[in-house]
Amino acid sequence: MRKKTIIGQTVLNSVFVLLCIAAVAPFVLLVSVSFSNEKDLVFNGYKFWPEHFDISAYKYIFSNPAAIFNAYKVTGIFSILSMFLGVFLMALIAYPLGIGKMRGKSFVSMYLYITMMFSGGLVPSYILITQYLHLDDTIWVYIIPSLISPWYVFMIRTFFQGLPYEIYESSVIDGASEYRIFFQMVIPLSKPVLATVALMTFLSKWNDWNTSLLYINKSELFSLQYLLQKLMREIKLLQDMQGSNVSSLINPRDIPTESVRMAMAVIVAGPALFIFPFFQKYFVKGLTVGSVKG
């Protein structure tokens, strides 16, 4: 019996190793191509391991990194701002829904719930933002319209409901105001769910490309992902991005286009992927609390 279990576990583990390889392989390919020699790529195709290790793609990108640094800056600013503002505001509205005693709770829940079921669609939002609020071509368009996500509000609320109610009652008896209870009791106790929502908000912002696609025409406000997407479609952009001084020095045919593309993707995807393991501790906990209880 014991032996059977060991064999079973070994088989299971090898299945998981294969699955993990499948999950990670595309990342490896991306990194490998970015470090490959351009000639190898053209003649022998992409490989999971570079035949000749070559960092000319990165050298080329960092020879004039202004456009990328700028996109990094813009994306970083709006991602971090959205994360803090969004989590704060969502926790703020989740508090009365989950803990505080308030009439009209069900109205507020319904008010949020309806927006999950029905939306006006892309066109009315587009017209609202461009024609009436004039948020297009500003950094605010990345932040303000998507601050409140009802889904996360309900997730935070469910977590709040699971906190011991006695804490609230005793704080009320001690004369703490609602805001004080919120800031000093509830927020410190809700780290798992708040960290999860923060991570999700941050990553969805970091990965945002369609906002730029819709609302941004100024190239200095492009988000990283959008820059990358443009690069995929128009490789000529690469030369423009690097400015004329570089193009005159380097023969356009010598630009390692294939590896530069993938190197860009690595530079863009990298930070987001390194952040995630640090949140892992809270992550599964926070995510499941909200969803299982419904």
Partner: protein, 314 residues
């Protein structure tokens, strides 16, 4: 004795809003205003669907055209194509995705080592956190007509001809399903895994004492315990069956016209009609249809599931 039922004691009903309630309302205020502006105001904007919208005339100044936008949309060939693509692809995503997520959760649950579980889980969730733009780069590295991994494999191992994947629409439903599974399964399985962790261990003990084997345990304990969660998730997903993942369908096929027959979905169509063709009226008409059908779908699946299995969302 209950005070409320005693007619001699009159309790003054508190209608006044206490200061505590005021501070709670003030907490709701800013988020609710934001939701109003960015979710409810656009809902009013659905009247654009019945107008011939012109930017210079504004929403209220544009002419009414009744159902012309809808009529025009229904008479085009696009209607069938995008509806079919959206529904078929979403059904594939929902059911294959469900199968994979539940299967993966059960496998994870069978693992004895908690440390290994954590490592596997982290690695399998990672694809969820890359944007569709990056995925499109990865996919491109696999499907590149000359240098791609897949064509190398076809030529070197199977001795077949190279295939230009970006010009072969019939391959794309499979490609997209694989991409979806790769990206979403790790994340979706977290919920099922958590539900499994919540199952009462005594059930398993009892089953083992009664001599049940692994397969019987899976079929008669694990699957029934997950049924309600599976139903709820499926209802939610079917409610969104008219909403395609815009990022996926726009980025992965790289907006290539040849691939439209199998990769053009409602969301990409709405985007194209609005930004490329510039027909606001028709674009928002399609958006409105999408929303309405979405609600109908949620209510229908919900009531069916209520009747059949007494599990429902609301």
């Amino acid at each position: 004795m209950k005070i409320e039922n005693n007619p001699n004691v009159k309790i003054k009903k508190r209608n006044r809003i206490t200061s505590r309630e005021w501070s709670l309302y003030s907490m709701c205020a800013i988020p609710m205003i934001l939701v109003f502006v960015f979710c409810y105001l656009p809902m009013g904007g659905i009247i654009i669907a019945f107008k011939n919208y012109k930017f210079n005339k504004g929403i209220f100044g544009s002419d009414w055209v009744g159902f012309k936008n809808f009529e025009y949309f229904f008479t085009t060939n696009d209607f069938w194509r995008i509806t079919r693509n959206t529904i078929v692809m979403n059904l594939l995503f929902i059911f294959i995705g469900l199968f994979c997520a539940v299967g993966l959760a059960i496998l994870l649950y069978e693992l004895k080592s908690r440390a290994a579980t954590r490592v596997y889980q982290t690695m399998l969730i990672t694809p969820h956190f890359v944007s569709m733009v990056i995925v499109s780069y990865m996919l491109y590295a696999f499907l590149h007509p000359q240098n791609g991994i897949l064509n190398q494999f076809l030529v070197n191992f199977l001795h077949l001809e190279k295939v230009d994947w970006y010009a072969t629409p019939m391959a794309w439903p499979f490609i997209l399903v694989i991409c979806h599974i790769w990206k979403a399964t790790g994340m979706n399985c977290v919920i099922y895994y958590a539900a499994l962790m919540g199952i009462d261990q005594s059930l398993f003990e009892a089953a083992r004492i009664d001599g049940a084997n692994k397969r019987q345990i899976v079929w008669h304990i694990i699957v029934p315990c997950l049924t309600s969660l599976m139903t709820i998730m499926t209802i939610l997903n079917i409610g969104g069956i008219f909403r395609a993942d815009f990022g996926m369908f726009y980025q992965l096929p790289r907006d290539i016209g040849t691939l439209y027959p199998t990769t053009d979905v409602i969301d990409t169509y709405i985007f194209r009609t609005m930004r490329v063709i510039g027909d606001m009226g028709m674009s928002s008409a399609v958006g409105l249809l999408q929303s309405i059908v979405g609600i109908i779908m949620v209510c229908t699946t919900n009531s069916i599931s209520k009747k059949v299995s007494e599990i429902s969302l609301f």
